[in-house]
């Protein structure tokens, strides 16, 4: 409660945001291998990587763009800061229509916002985003990970359907029962039960899809009818129905998931490998639908249901989240969310079991299909956490959510993960330091697209950071940013340099210039000349210019110091060598020395940076900064925004259609309030 005052008075918090302009370096991205001397393969790989790196940014866009006002998505000049006129209160208020929130007006303001379709749009997203970290709902997981751009690469492949082996029922000859609505009221319950039992018969959809067609249709029609019946009729969920409905659901769905037809291990690419769809979906879909309607029925009473929907049931349900079929996971997500909402007694158990899934995923298998969906549910759960946060929840953040950042397939669930993390920080800002330290610990070393995702998340965190927390972490933070700015991967450097377009971050830097500038300056200065990518030069000059305007004197000092440091660096290297030499000599005197010979010293690590001219004096630097920064403005205006293109793998038209046809039960998960 102590924090609440300050968190809910965001007007004092200059949380103004600006636009981030996306531009993709044309010159490097569009080169085609012209001569056979070109290492074409490497280039293609590079392009693929480059495109991937984009996706971390492009993907969450539909969700983020949701709140952006019309017109704000146009490309703007990079550091002409656009102020958010909308009071930040609005965003915060809607984030917590919870017991902890005092401004209840959020809900209605939210409604009044025009909401562009938040569905995953295939292509024409303006690649700029108006960031609003506090959303009241977690970003929904996309159904199809692959963006279909249409065109010739869509091919009809061999049908890929999963081969879930159900234990087929022996007697599959179903009798068509009379319709519920035509039967007398007093017989309806009995008939309903009969129909539920009939639907416990399982059919083969894989080895012989054409078998039992007639009876499959009876079951399908029966399920359809029951979905209608339970949705539109009152007082039909009687006590006798509960065990029957739960049994029908369990019999149809709880099964061992089949081995994946996609490659496992390192070969698996969660972003590009197509999911294998569930063959029995025509029936499964209706079973899911029925169960969801059952849970949502106004007559549904958790008190009666808890005898049947127990821990075992939940565990079996959670096992299914590894299903490859996104449609199935989508239903599971909504169902589990409802169960979490309605069964208070199961909440702790569900959270614990989800944690176990995450541990296994992080530390053992690195392979699970439903992480994004589970995080989405958790996002809504975190949203409803009461303040002050329980110790258990804090542990969850530090020991589960942060380690999730190190898994290789982060891109698949990063928007949901980042949402969860930011939710935590909005609830309790004192967690900022451990979170940022954790992110820095897991910072990717070689995986550039992942690095871009980290930078995205970090900016979201900085958007909500308290100035006091900022000063605790800024030194390690900016040391990492200095590395990112110097990254030879231009998208990493570019993404890091976009921070200089964020007015709130700039205000934080400005307040702490004396400590931040000396860390950042060498990286910026060095790369202003030596980075291979021209776009980066322009951005660096922008950054330097901002620093210069921030504190002229400090800037001059940094320039001086840089040159001095450069000379000292070489001296220190030599000093270190001598130090170790001396220890080595001491060690040699020990009679045990021959037994414990240390490995031969590793060759020194040479940096790839080329020598930069140090003769350049401050005045010259300043002039260059001015002209280059201005030059950059013009360039950016001209630069056309390039759309993201995925690598052109052939897509299976059947899978695309099946996924497009799937209708979500609901677009967003609402917050589940924590029971106190």
């Amino acid at each position: 409660m102590r924090k609440k005052g300050s968190r809910l008075a965001p007007v004092t918090n200059p949380r103004r945001r600006c636009l981030v302009v996306r531009q993709v370096c044309k010159s490097s991205g569009q080169l085609e291998a012209q001569s056979p001397l070109d290492p074409g393969a490497a280039r293609r790989r590079w392009r693929r990587d480059a495109e991937r790196a984009e996706c971390g940014r492009a993907k969450p866009e539909p969700e983020r763009g949701r709140r952006s006002r019309a017109g704000s998505g146009r490309a703007e000049m990079p550091y002409k800061l656009k102020k958010e006129k909308e009071p930040p209160k609005l965003a915060k208020g809607t984030a917590k229509p919870s017991s902890s929130s005092k401004d209840g007006g959020g809900e209605s303001t939210d409604e009044s916002q025009p909401q562009p379709q938040p569905q995953p749009q295939p292509q024409p997203q303006p690649p700029s985003s108006n960031k609003r970290p506090s959303n009241s709902t977690p970003p929904p997981t996309q159904l199809s990970k692959i963006k279909y751009s249409g065109g010739p690469q869509i091919v009809k492949k061999e049908r890929r359907q999963s081969s879930s082996r159900f234990n087929l029922s022996k007697n599959r000859e179903l009798q068509k029962l009379p319709a519920l609505k035509d039967s007398p009221t007093q017989e309806r319950e009995e008939l309903f039960i009969q129909k539920l039992r009939q639907c416990c018969v399982l059919f083969d959809f894989v080895s012989d899809p054409l078998s039992d067609l007639k009876f499959k249709e009876v079951k399908r029609a029966g399920l359809n009818e029951m979905v209608e019946y339970i949705t539109h009729s009152r007082d039909v969920v009687t006590e006798a129905i509960y065990p029957e409905a739960v049994t029908m659901f369990s019999v149809n769905l709880f099964r061992t998931l089949p081995p994946s037809s996609n490659p496992t291990g390192a070969e698996f690419d969660p972003e590009e490998d197509e999911p294998t769809l569930e063959a029995a979906w025509p029936h499964l879909q209706l079973v899911y639908e029925f169960f969801l309607r059952f849970l949502e029925s106004p007559d549904f009473q958790p008190n009666i249901a808890k005898k049947y929907i127990d821990q075992k049931f939940v565990l079996a349900l959670l096992d299914l989240f590894d299903s490859e079929d996104p449609r199935e996971r989508d239903f599971l997500k909504t169902i589990l969310h409802r169960i979490y909402g309605k069964f208070l007694g199961l909440r702790a158990y569900i959270r614990r079991q989800i944690n176990h899934i995450f541990y296994r995923f992080i530390y053992e298998t690195e392979h699970h299909n439903g992480i994004a969906e589970l995080l989405e549910i958790l996002g809504s759960i975190i949203n409803g956490f009461a303040l002050p946060l329980k110790e258990e929840h804090k542990m969850f953040l530090i020991r589960v959510l942060l380690p999730l950042h190190k898994v290789k397939s982060l891109s698949v669930y990063h928007p949901q993960l980042a949402y969860c993390v930011v939710q935590f920080l909005e609830k309790e800002s004192s967690l900022t330091e451990p979170v940022i330290v954790g992110l820095l610990k897991f910072w990717p070393k070689t995986h550039s697209p992942k690095e871009v995702m980290f930078l995205n998340e970090l900016e979201e965190i900085l958007d909500v950071i308290e100035p006091s927390e900022f000063s605790k972490v800024m030194e390690p933070l900016f040391r990492q940013l200095a590395k990112c700015v110097s990254s030879p991967h231009f998208q990493v450097a570019e993404r890091a340099l976009y921070y200089w377009n964020n007015e709130y971050i700039m205000s934080l830097i400005s307040d702490n210039a004396a400590r931040v500038l000396p860390i950042m300056f060498p990286a910026l200065y060095r790369n202003s000349k030596s980075h291979w990518n021209k776009t980066i030069h322009g951005l660096i000059y922008n950054a330097l210019k901002l620093f210069m305007e921030m504190n002229q004197k400090l800037f001059d000092d940094c320039t001086q110091q840089y040159k001095a440091e450069k000379q000292k660096g070489r001296f220190r290297m030599k000093e270190r060598e001598e130090m170790w030499q001396k220890i080595e000599e001491l060690a040699r005197l020990n009679p045990q020395y021959p037994m414990f010979r240390a490995p031969p010293p590793l060759p020194p690590v040479y940096s790839m940076e080329t020598e930069t001219p140090t003769a350049e004096d401050i005045q010259l630097l300043k002039r260059t900064v001015e002209t280059e920064a201005v030059q950059m403005l013009k360039d950016i205006k001209k630069e056309k925004v390039l759309l993201r293109r995925k690598s052109e793998l052939p897509q299976d038209v059947y899978t695309i259609k099946a996924l497009e046809a799937h209708k979500r039960a609901e677009e967003f998960l609402t917050a589940s309030q924590e029971a106190l």
Binding site: L37, H356, F596
Partner: protein
């Protein structure tokens, strides 16, 4: 001198002048503060040097406490630390002080990153052996207990790996406690811990007394084997192998078999897969009687499992299973109980199942003998040789030697040939490469006549394949064939065809001639080399493509040792000298190399000249024309030398390289 503190020297010995004594630790502290992970890592890797410089006592009193207190770093650094500490016993003063290493390793065993934890456990296991029994009970066992009752699952998982190393040397009272701790970990709430316990169950069972195995391990095994998580159940299958080895047949039947039967029919395919995968081990562990009664029926079910993964795993085990059956009655069992299922698998819908079977099925012929092989197995071989999947065919062909011993390859040759021809022309170069590698073997089994008639043309066609790796393999294939069929055969069939290629318009083919000569000259001997090959090589010295010319120089160097002095002096030397004046610097360079090698041989004829150390592998010269040759490069030495560093390239890259054509 300062710091010379060996084991046994008093504390005073470590003290030199004041600065020096603190020096090593100060350096370490400073280095571990550095931003650069690589530097920190390097410092940790030199930890033993620091310990040596400090001497045992100060290592114990200063270095180890420092390390224990400051364990927070990147996982990479922690991993290096965990590894170092495993070998530190000598540096802290030997076994009597080994327990000093436990505190830092204990913290490392609780970190989250699995790799670090596993390494810490490994080091702890190593150190446990160096403890005296007293120290073990005083220091090590309490550590295991602390880990086993830790709050966080990571420490409990780590504990699972430590029970089996401390149990054998503990006293009876302590043993009971250890067993108790292990029991509770087997029913831990966290699946991660249960998995760790299940994976160590077999190992722990081996060090226990037989009574305890029966009374305690078996119930744990039964519980784990019916765990709610299939990831736990499948690990119990592994433990089953170790436990089964310890028990008598009667106990086995009563205590283990019900669980094993259940595992073979588990509803999760992962568990069934594990049973199939461990089948041979299980078979050996349970003995012949239970195998016949229980495992054979279970195996039949696995062979017709509904999941292809399980069938493939089972198919892999067919040969081992049959081999391990008791010799008496083996044939009948295989014929009646295994073969019918194998026949089904030959026409399986999944290619992995078929190729798994194809990789072992040939091995059955030695077990079943000639008649059965001809009557029952041969049709299966033939069917698989016609399989649509190249991998299946390749697996059959690569195991032909087994059949050859039993029935002779002739029985197969009619079907073999189309299969080989088809694989030889497969669109995938890796398939072609694989079949080339079996050529010498096939040639040996099929005989020279059959070879000349049917396969020779294939071998020559590979020489002009558009993939370098294939041409290279074809070249060494020729050499092996010559070794098999003799020089006369080479002279009549191979050499003329190879030499004709010297006039090919494509310089890559001309170079192939040179590579063939390099490979063949030794096998063919001096006469053929001097009379037939050398003239061609010398003629090619005038080739217009520089790559050909410098390969001439390399070839001459290569075949030099085979030629006699006259030929060297009168024919080779002038040509090399001419090449030495070539305008291309690479040609010049290799000509110089060859001249010096030849000169060496001419001067030291008494010595057998060992000049086989070619400066570059075949891949290196491929890089040659990838390098733009600047006009300003003066000495041939510098850049050409550098190319040799990068010896072998992947075939894929070489394919790209071949796109370059020189006029």
């Amino acid at each position: 001198m300062a710091g010379a503190a060996g084991p046994g020297t008093g504390p005073g010995a470590a003290r030199g002048d004041g600065d020096d004594s603190l020096y090593p630790i100060a350096v370490l502290i400073d280095e571990l503060r550095n931003e650069d992970v690589q530097l920190r890592l390097n410092s940790i890797k030199k930890l033993s040097t620091i310990a040596l410089a400090l001497g045992v006592e100060r290592t114990r009193t200063e270095l180890l406490p420092f390390l224990t207190d400051t364990i927070y770093d990147e996982d990479e650094v922690l991993l290096a630390l965990a590894e170092q500490l495993g070998n530190f016993t000598g540096l802290v003063g030997g076994p009597d002080f080994a327990h000093c290493l436990l505190p830092p390793l204990e913290s490392l065993a609780t970190v989250e990153e699995t790799v670090v934890r596993d390494k810490a456990v490994e080091s702890l296991r190593q150190i446990s052996q160096e403890h005296t029994p007293v120290a073990l009970e005083a220091h090590f066992v309490p550590l295991v207990k602390r880990l086993a009752s830790g709050d966080w699952f990571t420490s409990r998982t780590s504990a699972c790996g430590l029970f089996s190393v401390c149990y054998p040397r503990a006293s009876n009272a302590v043993k009971a406690e250890i067993r108790q701790h292990f029991r509770s970990l087997c029913s831990d709430d966290t699946p991660m811990v249960r998995r760790a316990a299940a994976s160590k169950l077999g190992e722990f069972a081996k060090v226990l007394e037989l009574d305890s195995v029966k009374s305690e391990i078996v119930p744990l095994f039964t519980n784990l084997a019916s765990d709610e998580q299939d990831s736990v159940r499948l690990l119990a299958v592994e433990a089953c192998v170790s436990i089964a080895q310890l028990l008598s047949q009667d106990d086995l039947e009563a205590l283990v078999m019900p669980t094993l039967r259940q595992a073979a029919e588990d509803k999760s395919w992962r568990v069934r897969y594990m049973v199939a995968d461990k089948f041979s081990e299980l078979q050996k562990a349970v003995g012949p009687k239970i195998t016949l009664n229980d495992l054979i029926p279970a195996f039949q079910n696995l062979l017709k499992d509904c999941e292809a993964e399980v069938r493939a795993a089972a198919a892999h085990k067919v040969k081992e299973l049959c081999e391990n059956l008791p010799t008496e009655g083996r044939e009948t069992i295989i014929m009646n109980q295994i073969l019918p299922f194998i026949k089904e698998l030959v026409s399986d819908t999944n290619q992995h199942v078929k190729s798994a079977l194809a990789s072992v099925i040939m091995g059955l012929s030695t077990i079943l003998g000639k008649e059965n092989t001809i009557e029952h197995l041969l049709p299966l071989f033939l069917a698989q040789l016609k399989d649509e999947c190249p991998e299946v065919r390749l697996n059959i062909i690569s195991n032909l030697d087994c059949v050859n011993e039993v029935i002779g390859i002739r029985q197969l040759s009619q079907s073999l040939l189309p299969a080989i021809v088809e694989l030889a022309e497969d669109a995938k170069w890796r398939v072609r490469l694989a079949i080339i590698e079996y050529m010498p073997l096939l040639a040996g089994q099929l005989g020279v006549e059959f070879f000349d008639e049917k396969l020779n043309s294939l071998c020559m066609a590979w020489l002009v394949d558009h993939v370098y790796a294939i041409r290279e393999a074809a070249t060494s294939n020729l050499m092996k064939l010559v070794q098999k069929f003799g020089t006369e055969w080479a002279q009549n069939t191979i050499v003329p065809k190879v030499l004709v290629m010297a006039n090919d318009p494509n310089y890559l083919h001309r170079m192939t001639t040179l590579f063939c000569i390099n490979a063949l000259s030794e096998a063919c001997g001096q006469e053929i080399t001097t009379k037939q090959m050398l003239p061609i090589v010398l003629k090619m010295a005038g080739d217009q493509v520089a790559n050909v010319r410098f390969n001439v120089a390399k070839s001459l160097q290569k075949i030099g040792p085979i030629l006699d002095t006259d030929a060297l002096q009168e024919e080779v030397k002038p040509v090399l000298q001419k090449l030495g004046q070539d305008e291309d610097m690479d040609v010049k360079y290799f000509a110089q190399e060859a001249i010096s090698a030849v000169a060496q041989r001419l001067t030291k004829l008494d010595f057998p000249v060992k000049d086989n150390e070619e400066p570059s592998a075949p891949g290196a010269d491929k890089n040659h024309f990838l390098r733009p040759r600047g006009p300003g490069e003066d000495t041939g030495k510098g850049p050409a030398h550098q190319l040799h560093v990068n010896t072998r390239d992947t075939p894929a890259q070489l394919e790209i390289a071949e796109l370059v054509h020189f006029s």
